[in-house]
């Protein structure tokens, strides 16, 4: 019980933000989107989204269900390609490379932009195989020992290694929900991405597992650009430095998280934060 309390306390400490909130404005821009539109068949889902996402910080997308925040997230690593009838317009640049450039290989893009999904979705294989799969297909490990090293360090970074080190050969699906989600994060890290996209990573988890994941996100911020979609405003406030508020497919407001939550410019943002729309 003490341990759990400690974890939560630790997390609440991180909410105090070790980073000066205004630092985020000085960070380099890793991703920049301009006038991004998405159509699903005849239905337009996103209307001209333009936003800059800072390097090595957590940016959160908030907004009511169906506001297009997940849709926009999926534009960044082109997961929308897999949806029948989805069309994306505008431009998204990752370090100056156009993500939608026809010459850009989507496989390479996804190696640079990792993704963690709403529901933990480990492969029905061993814990080791789950983490090793990405490096294997991208040819990142030259030898077995290389691969072992990548797996162990990825599991360490995801804060899972100590819990699973004795059962790396057990199936990933035998872990608890929170552990599975951290396994998915380890799996994404193993490929060595610059950006990690997280689509409501805690919505299927209990509060304790959520606290652990939030703490992990805060640690990962030092090395990765993280974009997180969340339903929970508290979560956005706790983990992110920059927040963007979406409503009905439009980006209403974006800015430093503290500003958005304490002093929103738009009435819609204020209404959402106050719980009047949702």
């Amino acid at each position: 019980m003490d341990m759990i309390a400690g974890k939560i306390k630790l997390t609440s400490k991180t909410v105090d933000q070790s980073m000066n909130p205004l630092d985020v404005l000085e960070r380099e821009t890793r991703l920049s989107a301009r006038d991004v539109t998405v159509h699903y068949g005849d239905k337009q889902a996103l209307f001209g989204i333009s936003i800059d996402i800072p390097d090595r910080a957590v940016t959160s997308f908030i907004g009511p269900s169906g506001c297009g925040k997940s849709t926009f997230l999926r534009c960044i690593n082109r997961m929308n390609d897999t949806i029948e009838g989805a069309r994306v317009g505008g431009s998204i640049k990752l370090d100056g490379d156009d993500v939608y450039d026809p010459n850009l290989d989507v496989v390479e893009l996804r190696a640079r932009v990792g993704m963690v999904f709403q529901k933990p979705n480990p492969f029905p294989k061993s814990i080791y195989e789950n983490v090793a799969y990405g490096p294997k297909i991208h040819g990142l490990a030259r030898s077995r020992t290389d691969l072992d090293e990548i797996v162990v360090s990825s599991l360490r970074k995801a804060g899972l290694f100590e819990e699973v080190k004795d059962r790396l050969n057990e199936p990933g699906t035998s872990l608890s929900g929170g552990q599975q989600q951290r396994l998915c994060i380890a799996r994404a890290i193993a490929v060595g991405p610059q950006v990690i996209l997280m689509d409501e990573p805690c919505s299927a988890l209990d509060p304790i597992a959520t606290a652990i994941i939030e703490e992990l996100i805060d640690e990962l911020r030092e090395n990765y650009t993280i974009v997180i979609v969340t339903h929970s405003m508290q979560q956005a406030a706790r983990v992110s430095q920059k927040t963007a508020f979406f409503h009905l497919g439009k980006l209403i407001e974006e800015g430093v998280t503290e500003d958005i939550f304490t002093n929103p410019e738009h009435k819609q943002t204020q209404d959402y934060i106050m719980g009047r729309i949702g």
């Binding site: 897999t82 996804r110 190696a111 990792g114 999904f117 492969f123 029905p124």
Partner: protein, 453 residues
Amino acid sequence: MTDTLLSAASPGSRNREQVRKGLRRRHRSEVLFRWAGILSIVAALGFVAILFGMILSKGMPSFWQSTLHLEAYFDPELIEGGPQPQREDSNSDADYQRAYSNWQRAVTLSNWNTVVETAIRAQVPEFEIETGDLLDLVTTAARFQLRDQYFANPDVLGQTMPVSILGSANTDNWLKGTIDRSQPDARQQLAPETRQLADQFLEQGIIRFDFAGHIFTNVDSRSAPASAGLAGAFMGSLYMMMVVIVLAVPIGVASAVYLEEFAPKNRWTDLIEVNINNLAAVPSIVFGLLGAAVFINYFGLPRSAPIVGGLVLTLMTLPTIIIATRSSLRAVPPSLRQAALGLGASRNQTVFHHVLPMTFPGILTATIIGVAQALGETAPLLLIGMSAFIANIPSSPMDSATALPVQIYLWQGNENRNFFEARTSAAIIVLLGLMLMLNAIAIFLRSRLEKRA
């Protein structure tokens, strides 16, 4: 306050009364439905039991066939060719070969029927019976049986050896009572003396009902129905199943994977999908016509050959495999595909590393159901000539052969009804046994694969 509570309670209790009134009716319909379900299951099981009971009770006796246990004297005066030529140093290979084949021919042309006759007569020296009637007692293949035994061990020349000779189909009928024993002589297949002798032998224990292993090792025979077997048909079916598995599984799985995972959804793929479903509904005899027209007439493949049967059955099995594979692909959760794609796996890698392995149990079940269906298919095989009488075990899929279900059809139509009625059931038992075995393998493999996943 109390007033409001009371007035709030009374509509509630009225609701409860309404619900209670309906409850009886609801329970009754539930009980009725449950009984209807149990009744239909009992009916279905009853029919299956009757079917199996009839087939087993009819077919099992024919696995034990009347066999004569005799002492045969390998008479040097009857068996020509003398002792087997021995290889001597002075002989050249060609000389020896010539001597050997001459000896073989002489032995084959010997009067083996007399050897058989002598062996039978030795048991009942006093009994008066004509040679023809006497030989009716045993299968016409008896002489070949003794000859083969002699070839296997030529040292018995001039000795008396115990032999077991298969009784003829008519002897079997008479002793088992599958022919009406009260019929007058004119309507009996065997002469009165032969029947008397058969009864006497059975009593003396000279005729016993031995397990008829030759059903599994012999080929079909029209001249000696008693020694007819299923080996040819079994091999024919086996070759066809091999062709079906080798062709239908890769083609079916590949089409299903392409249609489900790669093909764009447009009018063409819709058309293909509708046609695959239509293909599954095409009567099997149409496939036989197609096989005769395309594979035999156009491509010039041999008639009656398992290769053609296999190709036709492949066409029939394809839709089963495609449809089942597609539905098991659809059952793979999309989150698995997203996980792989999100890591940067290509579509190919996603399908082959993650999606397809999840569908193995489904594909396996579909394959075995498809193969079992093909195994029992008769109509299309009749049209490509597999109902021909073939007295050889096919040594390759290009040889003429017949198949188990076709063999059942042929035996069912044989003129010696009394004998082949039971034989037909025996063949059905073999076919059913084979299918049950296939299903058992399917269940075993599926449970193992599912445990691993």
